[in-house]
């Protein structure tokens, strides 16, 4: 069972990400966080195999979350996927520099999301 954390403040977007990943073709369990703070509280509760995060969020943003995850020994190796809305190229690049593994642009193609997520999950398992 792969455990995925989705961090996204828009409930609509969150539902779309969830429903795309449910059909990934692997056994998955999905947790949701509607803000950066919620993600910080959620992280110690589960053994995550993938984190999918937005960048533009209230309280702490995606970059701050990525920075936290990569500086924390317990979460350092969890694959990170950014899904952000077009127009924030600079922030997306910062996210990759901070240690995110891949990014997708909203509006995203559910098939592309599934493909990328699957790749990241399998890579992490293989290592």
């Amino acid at each position: 069972m792969h455990h995925i954390l989705i961090v996204e403040d828009s409930p609509t977007m969150r539902s779309l990400v969830v429903s795309a990943l449910e059909d990934i073709g692997l056994p998955v369990r999905i947790s949701e966080a509607s803000s950066g703070f919620e993600a910080l509280r959620e992280l110690p509760r589960g053994d995550y195999d993938l984190i999918v995060t937005d960048i533009n969020m209230p309280d702490i943003n995606g970059l701050e979350l990525i920075s936290f995850v990569r500086r924390n020994a317990a979460y350092r190796s969890i694959p990170l996927l950014i899904i952000s809305t077009e127009g924030s190229e600079r922030d997306r690049e910062r996210g990759l520099e901070l240690g995110a593994d891949a990014y997708l642009v909203k509006p995203f193609d559910p098939a592309a999301l599934r493909r990328t997520a699957k790749e990241l999950l399998e890579k992490a398992r293989g290592e």
Binding site: N56, E64, S67
Partner: protein, 694 residues
């Protein structure tokens, strides 16, 4: 949020969520836009408000795109562009583009309601075209991103800053604020409460630029937060004002605005300052910290600006105003031709909205230049106090209307003339106590200084209860100086007006007898240069009143353009009471002067043709009369025809024309070229003199 098993959400559930979320976003945007409108009116914008609006537009764009609502997504994209400009400081809070957002929000709401996510193609294209044009025009004015050095700020923090957070950091550095890092650890499962308390107390003192989480000392149970803070406080002050255990403040950049206080040891940069929670109440590390912070805040809310910068700004606004006029004329020309009428109509609409904004801009810049007369009045009050002490004369100065505002330039230029008049009143007009007693006046003399606004003018009166001006003494002196004939027939007012004649009032002889003295000619000269007039009225034995009438501002005037022969003149609209077309037979003559009977009162006329040596209109032709007034004086200016109203920036004339009486300056009036601006004050005054003499 609890983990949940995979379960495919029904498509309609997603759609329902989408609609309700968009509604929520629009509702939030409406509220924030209304706050934004308040902020624009108040001139202060909370950066977080701009960022929140941006995020709303950003989210809207994202989800609308996912649901294929391209119209909504496009509009949201444009809103995002505008709001990004606002939060990144590329767009000023007063930018016209922002005024469109309300409309866009309602259009989006309408699209959502129709369920199709689309508007009629025409309406949509129109809104989009408008936004794009404004965004494009303002984006080109974006200031180049200054590459300030961010030395001293931890790289680990810089790396995690979003574009917006980095922008706020640079802005704060540019504003000279100090940058500190406030760090505190919390239990990971309950950090939110403590963190929000910390954030709250920091926000009271500055701006939280970024909240960066990091693993705590025991990473499983603890989380550490680093708040990047921009503030006017130094690290020690910030530390003493945050009442939280284990919070540390680290100075990264010292404030440029904070003056170093002698005697208070500056905290060593980047030396952590442990916060003391157990400092007993009333024994805070810096007892005066509160008031100091208050005063620092008040500095940050007031900006001192070189008046020349405001002049430059005013000139720029003036030029914009003139170009707007040219655009208006072009629109009119396009409208007049059926082939271009459509483009003309559009241009005309744009011109209208440009005009509204420019009027606001102009009013805003003018308002910045306005200062209350109080500054000058207080100076006068000090002078009177000193004179009272030095001369041992008992004189009271009553001041009223110190809140009346005028252009700073006028207030500055007014200080000397007012000083002259007040000193004269004190020195010469108010009698010694013994004389006052024998005249049955109270021992204490009185000078009243009063300002009040009347329409576009400010009237300032300096009234004393002294001996008044002796008209006979003034007459004699004027005759001795060769200013008047021995047997000249002069009205009382005209005689009094003689004290403004050069050479007359500066002599001690008259000063001693008339009670008026030093350089009243200079006073009049100064006031006239400001486009104002000065008058005197006096009752022998009862006192004298000097009345100044001044325009509120010099810089931009609305002017009426009139044609005289082949020339054009501009008449400041603030002086125009009415205009009328007059049949020449209605013009009456009496003792060689022309006048018109207007509502039962004689209105003296002055022909600008004769005034400036221009050819007269053919006999019998109808002429236009512009009735101008200043104070209580009225005058009808006879011109060939009136043209229209224009905004004019008066520029002083260099060269020989400068000394022509009746001309205040020149102005550039778009496609009309350079036009002379009439000096209504001197024209009205001359006419009043003639009338008195008659």
């Amino acid at each position: 949020m609890a983990a949940r098993r995979t379960q495919k959400p029904a498509r309609n559930r997603a759609t329902r969520e989408f609609v309700s979320e968009v509604e929520e976003i629009l509702e939030r945007m409406r509220a924030d836009l209304s706050d934004l409108a308040d902020a624009r009116a108040g001139g202060r914008l909370d950066p977080e408000l701009a960022n929140r609006l941006f995020r709303s537009a950003h989210s809207l764009k994202g989800i609308a795109g996912m649901f294929g609502f391209e119209g909504v997504s496009d509009l949201a994209h444009h809103m995002e562009d505008i709001l990004d400009g606002l939060r990144m400081g590329r767009l000023p809070p007063g930018a016209p583009a922002l005024a469109l957002l309300d409309e866009v929000v309602e259009v989006v709401a309408g699209m959502l309601e129709s369920g199709e996510g689309e508007l009629a193609a025409g309406a949509l294209a129109q809104v989009q075209a408008l936004i794009e044009r404004i965004v494009a025009s303002l984006a080109s004015e974006a200031p180049p991103a200054a590459d300030d050095d961010l030395d001293g700020i931890d790289a680990s923090i810089l790396r995690a800053l979003t574009e917006y957070e980095e922008h706020r950091l640079r802005e704060s550095l540019r504003a000279g604020r100090a940058i500190h890092l406030v760090e505190a650890s919390f239990e990971i499962l309950s950090f939110e409460e403590g963190l929000s308390e910390l954030t709250g107390s920091v926000r009271a003192l500055g701006e939280v630029l970024s909240t960066l989480p990091a693993p705590g000392d025991s990473p499983d149970s603890q989380i550490r937060f680093s708040l990047l803070v921009a503030t006017e406080c130094d690290a020690a002050e910030l530390g003493s004002r945050i009442d939280l255990p284990n919070a540390m403040v680290r100075a990264m950049r010292a404030s440029r605005a904070t003056p170093t206080q002698p005697g208070s040891a500056a905290p060593a940069a980047s030396a952590p300052t442990e916060l003391l929670r157990d400092a007993s109440p009333g024994e805070s590390p810096r007892a005066d910290g509160g008031s100091e912070i208050e005063s620092l805040k008040s500095i940050s809310e007031t900006v001192r600006v070189d008046i020349r910068k405001l002049d430059e700004l005013m000139n720029l606004v003036g030029e914009l105003v003139i170009q707007r006029g040219a655009i208006g004329s072009l629109a009119d020309r396009l409208l007049a031709d059926p082939a271009t009428a459509r483009a003309g109509l559009e241009l005309s609409k744009l011109h209208k909205s440009l005009e509204r904004r420019l009027t606001d801009l102009q009013a805003g810049v003018l308002e910045v230049r306005m200062v209350p007369l109080r500054q000058v009045f207080e100076k006068l009050s000090r002078v009177v106090r000193r004179l009272r002490r030095d001369l041992g004369k008992d004189v009271r100065l009553d001041i009223r209307g110190g809140d009346t505002e005028l252009d700073k330039l006028i207030v500055e230029q007014l200080a000397d003339p007012l000083m002259h008049v007040v000193r004269n009143a004190f020195d010469h007009a108010i009698e010694p106590a013994a004389d006052r007693a024998s005249a049955g006046k109270p021992a204490e003399g009185s000078i009243r200084l009063e300002a009040l606004q009347r329409g576009n003018h400010v009237v300032i009166e300096v009234a004393d209860d002294g001996r008044g001006i002796d008209p006979e003494a003034v007459r004699q002196r004027a005759h001795t100086l060769g200013l008047i004939e021995q047997d000249a027939v002069l009205s009382r007012k005209e005689v009094l007006d003689l004290i403004f004649a050069p050479g007359l009032s500066t002599t001690t002889e008259v000063t001693e007898t008339s009670g008026r003295g030093v350089g009243m000619d200079v006073v009049r000269e100064n006031v006239t240069a400001l486009g104002g007039i000065v008058h005197v009225d006096s009752q022998p034995g009862r006192g004298t009143t000097v009345v100044f009438t001044l325009p509120i501002t010099l810089a931009i005037i609305r002017a009426l353009t009139v044609g005289v022969a082949d020339q054009r003149f501009a008449i400041p609209l603030t002086t125009v009471l009415e205009t009328m077309l007059v049949d020449p037979v209605a013009i009456q003559r009496s003792e060689g002067r022309e006048f018109l009977t207007l509502r039962g009162e004689p209105l003296p006329l002055r022909r600008l043709h004769a005034e400036f040596g221009l050819p007269s209109p053919p006999a019998g032709a109808r002429v236009a009369v512009v009735v101008v007034g200043l104070g209580d004086l009225r005058l009808g200016l006879v011109v060939d025809h009136r043209e229209g109203q224009q905004d004019a920036v008066i520029k002083p004339i260099q060269g020989p024309v400068r000394s022509v009486r009746g001309i205040a300056g020149a102005t550039e009036l778009g496609d009309l070229g350079t036009v002379l601006v009439l000096d209504v004050a001197s024209l009205v005054e001359d006419a009043a003199k003639r009338r008195e003499a008659a």
